[in-house]
């Protein structure tokens, strides 16, 4: 089975296969441009409304994009669009702002370098037009507020800075710089005021308030809180609770619960660390809160299981409420069985009924009410199965691919190698299985790797690919372990996908 064949197959199931089109690209590489390590995107996340998109990169930066096509019209417009589907308009985004979220650090106690790479971004509740988000690297979670601030011009001061300079005794405070350099003087004057001076009943007419004029605004990101020193291992997930006041952070062995407003304490709710680390057989790979049930959360493990826990049961939820595991097929066990079973990402569907999980070879969809096995399994890149040995040799087998569900829960998507990603229909009867390439021409078929007509950039890419890893599978499909599409996100309300190919953010719609 390979991607190309499935695309060619006519859509049979009730929901039609989507016809994906290129929408936008941010940070496209020009011909011959080397990808800087720090620019590689490491996290993508839409906010709840889909009006904003955030990406994080290995350089610790967070870049925000905002939707431009609905901005003036708000929600009703969006509803309208969905009703008259398909319509020409599709989500379009523009660069909004960026900020440096994390810096490289050094843990002196443990002699460990802490990378600035952003592992996860999660949007929080907006308020007063200000955006809030959580970003995390391996160790530290930060709470950011991004807000438009007026650029202020101040006039009509009591003390004219220009004149004050000439007049030695008042040169102190009206110009900020002088004042900073001379911090002691204001205090003295305050004391003096308090003791000796009495104000006339009508006030002092010669005093005036500064007049502030402001025309333009600019976006300012401020770090509101830092949640640090709670994880001994690398943080792989953060997830907000539907109550709007708490969130969890998960590392390899523990999950902690935080209150957004309190950064100096968290509660450990899951701890899988064995008393003796030599007994360690399983680590936590991903964790997410249920979208609406405040007391339910799911986490996945390196053994391929998903555990759902109920926070109401106990303060320390080491015993799960539900366990989802696929029984191992008898006789098929190999050296790689356990490695490829490791789940790299889980996502709840919007209604909270289904959980999507990604392991190395497949996407699995689980019904939260059925723990005997997945309701659907999608082969992502089955043609790699004979190559597992090579993939193990070059560590690719440990790549952590993310997965996502469409807002309506009818489709799922995940990434693969050669900058490919796949979209599957998961509605009953759907056979939809599309392979797309993160380029300006997503539907370009992959079975002919050296097509003559293509854009300059993709030629360079192919040249690079050819030079570095000339892998061609049994069907003649090229695959390239170095260009892997790990991160992608589905727009919450529309059929639009944002995905990261190295440092470029590609957006598609259907």
């Amino acid at each position: 089975m390979n991607g190309g064949d499935e695309v060619a197959a006519a859509p049979a199931g009730p929901p039609q296969s989507l016809d994906w089109k290129f929408s936008q690209v941010f940070g496209e590489r020009t011909a011959g441009e080397e990808v800087q390590e720090v620019d590689i995107i490491s996290a993508i996340e839409f906010d709840k409304t889909g009006d904003h998109l955030a990406t994080g990169d290995r350089g610790g930066r967070v870049v925000l994009f905002e939707r431009t096509d609905t901005k003036d019209h708000g929600v009703p417009r969006r509803d309208l669009e969905r009703m008259e589907y398909p319509i020409g308009r599709h989500p379009e985004f523009r660069y909004k702002t960026e900020f440096q979220s994390h810096e490289p650090e050094f843990d002196y106690l443990k002699s460990l370098e802490i990378e600035e790479k952003i592992n996860k971004i999660r949007w929080c509740q907006t308020a007063n037009g200000a955006l809030f988000l959580l970003s995390t690297n391996d160790k530290t979670i930060k709470f950011w507020k991004v807000q438009e601030k007026k650029v202020k011009k101040i006039s009509d001061m009591n003390l004219d800075p220009s004149k004050a300079v000439g007049n030695g005794s008042i040169a102190s405070s009206s110009t900020p710089k002088l004042c900073l350099a001379n911090g002691g003087s204001p205090d003295r004057s305050y004391n003096y005021l308090g003791n000796d001076f009495s104000f006339p009943p009508g006030g002092l007419p010669s005093l005036r308030l500064p007049v502030v004029t402001s025309q333009e605004t600019n976006l300012v990101a401020r770090c509101r809180r830092v949640y640090a020193h709670a994880h001994d291992y690398h943080i792989n997930s953060v997830s907000n609770n539907s109550d709007g006041e708490t969130f969890i952070s998960a590392d390899d062995l523990r999950i902690n619960l935080w209150n957004l407003e309190i950064s100096n304490q968290s509660f450990n709710i899951v701890d899988v660390k064995p008393a003796n680390m030599e007994d360690l057989t399983e680590v936590i790979t991903s964790a997410e809160f249920h979208p609406t049930h405040c007391n339910t959360l799911a986490y996945s493990s390196s053994k391929g299981s998903i555990r759902v826990i109920d926070l109401r049961q106990s303060a320390l939820c080491d015993s799960h409420a539900k366990l989802f595991e696929e029984p191992e097929a008898p006789g098929s066990r190999s050296f790689f069985t356990e490695i490829i079973a490791s789940i790299s990402d889980i996502k709840f569907a919007r209604d909270g009924r289904y959980i999507l999980s990604r392991d190395y070879m497949t996407l699995k969809l689980w019904d939260i009410n059925m723990d005997s096995g997945p309701v659907a399994t999608f082969q992502v890149h089955e043609y790699l199965r004979p190559k597992l040995c090579d993939l193990y040799e070059n560590d690719s087998i440990f790549d952590k691919f993310e997965c996502c569900l469409s807002g309506d829960g009818l489709r799922v998507a995940t990434g693969s190698y050669s900058n490919l990603f796949r979209v599957f229909g998961c509605a009953p009867g759907s056979t939809e299985a599309t392979t797309l390439e993160a380029s300006k021409n997503p539907m370009r078929q992959v079975q002919t790797p050296s097509r003559p007509s293509r854009s300059l950039s993709s030629i360079t890419r192919v040249v690079r690919r050819g030079a570095e890893n000339p892998g061609v599978d049994a069907n003649g499909n090229a695959f390239d372990f170095t260009t892997k599409l790990l991160h992608l996100a589905w727009h919450p309300t529309e059929n639009s996908i944002a995905c990261a190919a190295a440092n470029s953010l590609y957006m598609y719609y259907a």
Partner: protein
């Protein structure tokens, strides 16, 4: 511009700095807002300063917080209560900001102002403000509005009252959990302003909504409100409306809710009166004491004494005591520790016989607990049980417990027990102390951790205070003074420190005859740190001893030290000499 008279510079600077780029300077100015207002006069404060502040709503949160606080006490500067409504607009803006602490402060200030406002002003400006906030587009405004109803409601005319109740009911069902949480938090204080008939109907239906909320966090707060609400109702209404809810909550699926119930149950009992307590709440409480979740048991165990106090002894013995026995062997040390911290208080409630028969075995088992916290908690409340049954019954078990704690390898544990030694000494009496604990007190003076040695020195002093100088002369002082020959200089320093603490307690005679010679001798120590500490101790002894002793013994020694080769010794010696001169002159 710049035509400011000399005396106005500071105030002019203050005003200009309201817009300085440096946040610290802006904060300074905001903190002195009242000064600025006085300088501007009431009218210009109303017409210029307040509007100016209203526009200043996108400043840093720290500045906004300070502003919200200052405005709360600003009525005198705008022309008194009749002008108080000019303060509402800036605070209204602050009620909508994203930062919780700013909003809370703004609400607090609004309440403070509203409480002083005249009724007509409340109706004309305060109530519309509450309504605007409650209908706010962003949840932040709606969250803030919940805290203002208690001020708005009492002065509203009848029709408006109905409307306000309807609005609050809406807030209890808001889409955003944050708003519902705020509504739940404030329900109690809003209810306190509401007339009895509406209380039973409107407020109770809101309460019911909140108790059935999907979000655990909302239900938690509803539990917290139970007791407050219960106290507003007549006991029989409380029994009819609150009791079933709390009994229900005590079996909630969420341990956090049950935890809250465990914390609140005692107050609900007070509200409903003895009879329903006996029938419904005792069984609920017993369930909580046996809860699966340790956190719940901790909360319940911590209230066991308070709960028993409102029951009669028979009920307590019959229902609560069996649970207490179980808890004393609970698998969680925190549960046992919580129990140990309150269980001694049960002795006066149960009376002598029941205490000896039932509680004593529990005390004894807790005294042998493997966790030091549990033992410490028992020991710290020893006086309570002593009043009921006397200490003799306990003393046999007490001693091993104390000795073990005294030798615990964690210095914080040792520190904690040292601090209880004077209490123990007073409870156990001189005889017991002499036999068993005296040696321990000396041993602590040689501990390897400074904090312990320091606490031990203090302990010696407190013992001398407790039992008097004569006893101390016999049982403490000789042993302490012996240790001045310890080979380790840090231990010798501890002894010096103990002497300086003991001297005021022991009085002039003993100080001169026993303590001073030891100190003078120590001035020949080979370690400079000892020598300058001798100088310091001598200085502290000067006020205690006779003038002649100062002249004959202390000053010569200090003079010698003041010629020491070590600079620090010289420094402290000359400092001591100086102070002795001053004493002489006065």
């Amino acid at each position: 511009m710049a035509m400011i008279d000399e005396p106005l510079y500071p105030i002019a600077v203050l005003i200009d700095e309201l817009k300085n780029e440096d946040i610290q300077l802006r904060l300074n100015s905001i903190r002195r807002l009242s000064t600025i207002a006085r300088a501007l006069g009431e009218e210009r404060t109303r017409k210029e300063l307040i509007p100016f502040l209203s526009e200043n709503n996108d400043d840093d949160d720290e500045v906004l917080l300070a502003m919200a606080e200052e405005l709360g006490v600003f009525i005198p500067y705008v022309g008194g209560v009749q002008c108080a409504n000019v303060l509402l607009p800036p605070l209204e803006t602050l009620c909508t900001v994203e930062e919780t602490c700013v909003r809370e402060k703004a609400v607090e200030s609004l309440c403070r102002i509203g409480a002083q406002m005249m009724e007509q002003d409340l109706v004309e400006s305060f109530i519309p403000l509450v309504k605007r906030l409650a209908a706010g587009e962003w949840f932040t405004a709606r969250v803030s509005s919940c805290g203002l109803f208690r001020i708005a409601y009492p002065s509203a005319p009848e029709a408006l009252k109905t409307e306000l109740r309807a609005i609050y009911s809406q807030l209890c069902q808001d889409d955003m959990p944050m708003v519902r949480r705020s509504a739940a938090t404030n329900l109690g204080n809003f209810a306190a302003t509401i007339e009895a008939p509406h209380l039973k109907v409107d407020i109770m239906s809101m309460f019911d909504d909140l108790t059935q909320d999907d979000q655990d966090s909302v239900r938690l707060l509803a539990v917290e409100g139970c007791a407050a609400l219960g106290k507003l109702l007549e006991p029989q209404d409380c029994a009819a409306h609150i009791l079933p809810v709390i009994v229900n909550f005590s079996q909630d699926k969420s341990w956090r809710v049950r935890y809250m119930v465990a914390n609140q149950l005692y107050e609900v009992c007070e509200a409903v009166g003895p009879e329903p307590t006996r029938l419904d709440l005792v069984p609920a409480y017993v369930c909580l004491l046996r809860d699966n979740e340790a956190e719940v048991r901790i909360a319940a165990a911590g209230k066991v004494t308070k709960f028993c106090r409102i029951l009669n002894p028979e009920l307590a013995i019959q229902h609560i005591l069996p649970c207490v026995k179980e808890l004393s062997t609970d698998s969680s040390q925190h549960v046992r520790s919580a129990l140990a911290s309150v269980i001694m208080g049960m002795a006066p409630v149960l009376g002598k016989d029941a205490t000896i028969e039932q509680l004593l075995p529990i005390f004894l088992s807790l005294l042998k607990d493997e966790f030091p916290d549990v033992r410490l908690n028992i020991i710290s409340k020893l006086d309570q049980v002593n009043q009921v049954i006397g200490i003799d019954l306990l003393s046999q078990s007490l001693l091993p417990a104390i000795v073990e704690l005294a030798e615990d390898r964690h210095w914080r544990v040792r520190l904690a027990i040292i601090e209880y030694i004077p209490l123990l000494a007073s409870q156990l009496g001189v005889g017991f102390f002499d036999d068993k604990l005296g040696a321990l007190c000396m041993q602590w003076l040689k501990d390897k951790v400074y904090s312990i040695r320091d606490a031990a020195a203090n302990n010696v002093k407190r013992l001398a205070e407790e039992f008097g100088p004569d006893w101390a002369m016999q049982h403490i002082v000789p042993q302490v003074l012996d240790m001045i020959n310890n080979p380790h200089y840090l231990h010798r320093m501890t002894i010096l420190h103990s002497i300086s603490l003991l001297a005021p307690v022991m009085g002039s005679d003993i100080t001169c005859s026993k303590l001073l010679p030891v100190v003078i001798n120590a001035s020949k120590d080979r370690v400079p740190n000892m020598k300058f500490n001798v100088a310091k101790v001598l200085q502290s002894l000067i006020p205690i001893v006779d003038q002649s002793v100062v002249e004959k013994k202390i000053r010569p020694c200090l003079v010698e030290l003041s010629e020491d080769p070590d600079v620090d010794v010289r420094f402290f010696a000359s400092q001591a000499l100086e102070s002795s001169n001053q004493v002489m002159m006065s």
